[in-house]
Amino acid sequence: QNLSFQLNYPHESSASFSPNMAEHHTVSECKHKANPNAGGSLSGNGLSGGLTQPAGWQSLLSFTILFLAWLAGFSSRLFAVIRFESIIHEFDPWFNYRSTHHLSTNGFYEFLNWFDERAWYPLGRIVGGTVYPGLMVTAGLIHYLLNLLHVTVHIRDVCVFLAPVFSGLTAISTFLLTRELWNQSAGLLAACFIAIVPGYISRSVAGSFDNEGIAIFALQFTYYLWVKSVKTGSVFWTIGCCLSYFYMVSAWGGYVFIINLIPLHVFVLLLMQRYSRRLYIAYSTFYIVGLVLSMQIPFVGFQPIRTSEHMAAAGVFALLQAYAFLQYLKDRLTKQEFQTLFFLGVSLAAGVVFLTVIYLTYTELGCLYLYSVYAKIHIPIIASVSEHQPTTWVSFFFDLHILVCTFPAGLWFCIKNVNDERVFVALYAISAVYFAGVMVRLMLTLTPVVCMLSAIAFSSVFEHYLGDDTKRENPPAEDSSDEDDKRNSGNLYDKAGKVRKHVSEQDKPEEGLGPNIKSIVTMLMLMLLMMFAVHCTWVTSNAYSSPSVVLASYNHDGSRNILDDFREAYYWLRQNTDEHARVMSWWDYGYQIAGMANRTTLVDNNTWNNSHIALVGKAMSSNESAAYEIMKSLDVDYVLIIFGGVIGYSGDDINKFLWMVRIAEGEHPKDIRESDYFTPQGEFRVDKAGSPTLLNCLMYKMSYYRFGEMQLDFRTPPGFDRTRNAEIGNKDIRLKHLEEAFTSEHWLVRIYRVKKQENRQPLEHKLRSVLAKQKYTSKKKGKKLNKKSV
């Protein structure tokens, strides 16, 4: 019976990677990494799982499915590498790559103490203390091990392929977690889902060397170990959970999600009267060891005991201790005494909690959840990041496809057959849905739970409609933990009986299904899964595998143009400027300039210092002479901007310009006002109707310098901006303090050199104050008169 429905899964996974059959060269690479892990993790569970089947069959099948899931996941992440090159494709990962490179060249301690004087000039950045080092250490370790075995790969290739390899590990840990929650078949389905689901692929394609790539694995693995330790109540599993949590803390700031979700789980279990010794052991150990371990990461430091987003964990810890103490007292005291004591204790605790809440409210508003809402309204720099925008409905479907529709069913199954760990997954689902709604970026935390719950839903459906007519007496929902619960907690309380009633109810509708209905439903489900696989491949190929370093455009005949302007310009910087030249640009490009051009930058994607960014924003949005003063004080040698008006690239600096103005206004409200950059009608326009402040600011001048002379095609006037579909308003742009140093082939990147101060200061106008005669002005050279002309 098990075999018959599991046979569908190879179809499932093969459908997903069949479009990528061209990528055979990756298979061998995957294989030698996959084998030991997959085999190791599965040898145990295959043996214990099957009752009706020989253990060998089941474990072989599970192994094969997981291996194929890994392979499918790995290969579907390779689009970008195959179409372009094996390089780091995104903006942010360039820093990760650069620091990994530093780590692998100079060793761990040098990395820990690395003071990067090339970033945030002239402030510098302590890299070791301001990163989550997990990613770099992982990549560095793999590189080290491979080199130890004389597999001499370049660190770049390790970085590029790290995320796809880790997606396989994520699939396995999702399998393990789902198996703990439901059963093995659901686990396999979940592993297949997570391997190819776009919501996760978006952050883990080859070449996106980002924290999330390994963090989702750590997240799932931590949850698996947590569920395991709650189930068993063993310190061994809990310590494993702590170590995994430690890895997660070292890898991603999203660890806060774990340290809030696990206490929430414990708290809800307490409310549901599901307290047990297993829970007590698991959480007490986890909190103490996890706290100590998490504080070992320099970037995290004392945050776990200081900031409010970690307070829930501490509060639940205290609550759990109190609860356990009360349980202990309950045994020792009479009912009357206990009630008095209980009343006293509760009121005392309530008082303490109340005071704490008031204290926290008044001192720290930086609670994570409040923060994202608060920050969005008040801090433009956070709001300006596209990842921090709220999620649209479309992107739920786009990233999760059919899973987003089926996962509530899985959630319902879990709630209906509730036990300790299903409470956990329910809470996980609910909180992740909320966060994913707040921020696009947090879609990533929703994806695994959606995969798991959908797998449970699909698995249950298949069990009903694909299974033999002979009913199983013990549905998989009936897990051992409830019995454990009863056995371990002894006579403290007993809730297991209630749960069992639900289970017996569940059996009823299975009776009397005709073969037609069964096959129709099965076919329908299989169709859905196939469409899901097709959708995943399509989304991965079209949406998430286009690198931002290299742009591609397609002609009418389908041939492809590669616009390699970014690398062209960075390479120019690398080759033609002084080694210590300081390049000013908007912060989006800081990591790339540092990584590819190896030049000092003023601000970069680690947006830790708002005022410094505001200074750069102010320089960009002021007029040229005011900007020159700022640039002089910051020792700027070159200014780099991105201009998409020639090719119609919408992510350019003019489109980001309002954020620069807003951020600058936040720090310098007297000099920069956002309203100055709008027309009286409140529009942001670059054509003749645009506001004069905009038409004379440095960013506008640098973007459109010499652009007025350029006619792109015969249907449009000269100086027609394709991105904004407007003819620019200021075509006669003269620069006084800057000169054009480099413009890339498609004008995408423009680099300006900041001139030194003039050797002399020629007169720009006649000094005579009264009735200046026009007689001599004609003799002065035109170049001296640098009047702004609008």
Binding site: I87, Y121, D578, R753, E758, K775
Partner: protein, 466 residues
């Protein structure tokens, strides 16, 4: 491909002629500093100039007579070792720059009325000459031609129109024919800068010529000699119908410019100022009871001006700059916060054709990261200036800056970039006294657990025995 973020390929080649020049003439790398680097910005003129008063000088004259009427001035220059080449301003063979090289170090333009320079000299070549570090002495007069006026405006000075003169009805010489244009300028109105105008004297200065005004916002122009508060500039033979070009103290008689590359330019409104006649004639203000001087101060002032403008006086340079932690000799790759650092700089002055240590007590050092974090006086210590100070408890990329800008002296600017890094993980204090209670609690806990374990095991055994 630029994907390899590995060791930087050092490229010192920089695009653009300006930057290129700066690198070749002014930057040098301190030995042993990998991360810190130093750029010494010295006067570009110094690098090119020979270390003595002599230098090839081109003198442009309206007519050869001027050589005789101004013989005292020229002889003094020749005696000081200048190699003077006299040419008329419209000589067709004139040339200042040949194959990109300057043929002369200095230029004297004593040809106020020239309308077109001969040869390939024009205002642009002269400004290029200045921008290349050449020094220019310009004398105008009431028949000032357009090229000089243009040159003036290129340098931030505006001459009054042709045929105008500076007029002062209160401070004119007794020998004045009646237009009150032979002015007796009070030495009070000289710039208070002995390197430019020489030792302060009582002797008045004779002046007859055109006036100038300068942009008050221009920090490079020096008002060397201004008119008195009663002077103005206008056509001497016309009735005044317009507001005069320059009035009172705004009227500049002699103006100077020290460009940012330390090239020096002096504009004198009067060619007669340098003449033998003005050097030697007696001077007395026409106002009754004023003192009569047998000789005016012209000769001394002219000599001081020529010393300054031709870089014999007030020329400084930065020599070796060293910095290192106290107790060490070489600078580290990066300083650590709160290090005690010693900084020293050699500053030399050109005197009698030789570089001698400069003697100044007001030289300051700044330790700058956007804003100065430390500002301190440098103490003279043998041939060099040095100071010891504690670095601020702030990490970042800092610069040691010496920015010495004094009237009459070369603008001295030296900036050395160093990194100041925070403490390394091994540099923090290992045991801090205030944490001893915690250390004690840790060890007592360990001991307690051990004892408890021991007792627990022991007790259990006893129980069984019971």
């Amino acid at each position: 491909m630029a994907t390899d973020g590995s060791a930087a390929r050092d490229t010192n080649c920089m695009a653009g002629p300006k930057r290129g020049r700066r690198v070749t003439s002014m930057s040098l790398r301190l030995p042993g500093t990998l991360l810190s680097y130093a750029v010494f910005v010295l006067s570009a003129g110094l690098a090119a100039q020979v270390v003595s008063g002599d230098g090839k000088t081109l003198v442009l004259l309206d007519n050869p007579n001027i050589r005789d009427t101004h013989s005292v001035f020229f002889r003094a220059l020749a005696d000081r070792g200048f190699d003077l080449t006299f040419k008329t301003a419209d000589d067709p063979g004139l040339s200042l720059i040949k194959y990109g090289q300057f043929l002369y170090d200095h230029l004297i333009i004593f040809s106020p009325s020239v309308e077109d320079f001969g040869g390939n000299i024009n205002v642009e070549t002269i400004t290029a000459f200045i921008d290349g570090g050449g020094n220019v002495l310009v004398a105008a007069s009431s028949d000032i031609g357009d090229p000089l006026r243009e040159l003036g405006s290129e340098c931030g000075i505006e001459f009054d129109e042709e045929k105008t003169a500076v007029i002062d009805h209160h401070n004119y010489d007794v020998s004045d024919p009646g237009e009150h244009t032979l002015i007796v300028a009070d030495p009070e109105n000289l710039l208070k800068a002995p390197t430019i105008v020489g030792k302060p004297t009582e002797k008045p200065i004779l002046f007859k010529g055109v006036g100038m005004v300068a942009d008050p916002d221009n920090p490079l122009v020096l008002d060397i000699l201004t008119g008195s508060s009663t002077s103005y500039s206008y056509f001497p033979d016309h009735p005044i119908t317009q507001y005069p070009h320059a009035v009172g103290k705004n009227t500049l008689l002699i103006a100077g410019l020290q460009a940012r590359n330390n090239a020096r330019v002096v504009f004198s409104g009067s060619l007669h100022f340098f003449s033998d006649a003005f050097f030697n004639s007696a001077v007395q203000k026409a106002t009754p009871g004023s003192e009569r001087y047998p000789k005016p101060g012209n000769q001394e002032l002219a000599e001081a001006l020529s010393r300054w403008v031709f870089k014999e006086a007030g020329v400084l340079r930065v020599g070796a700059v060293t910095h290192h932690p106290v107790g060490e000799n070489t600078p580290p790759a990066a300083y650590t916060v709160t290090d005690l650092v010693e900084y020293s700089i050699v500053i030399e002055m050109l005197s009698e054709g030789r570089w001698v240590p400069f003697d100044g007590d007001d030289i300051q050092l700044e330790f700058v990261r956007i804003d100065p974090f430390v500002r301190t006086y440098l103490k003279k210590n043998g041939g060099k200036y040095s100071v010891q100070f504690k670095l601020p408890d702030v990490y970042g990329v800092f610069q040691f800056k010496v920015d010495y800008n004094r009237l009459g002296y070369t603008h001295l600017y030296s900036s050395t970039q160093v990194s100041v890094r925070p403490l390394q993980h091994t540099q923090y204090e290992r045991f801090i006294p205030s944490a001893y209670p915690y250390y004690a609690s840790v060890f007592s806990m360990m001991a307690g657990l051990f004892i408890f374990g021991f007792v627990f095991l022991h007790m259990k055994e006893k129980e069984k025995a019971d």
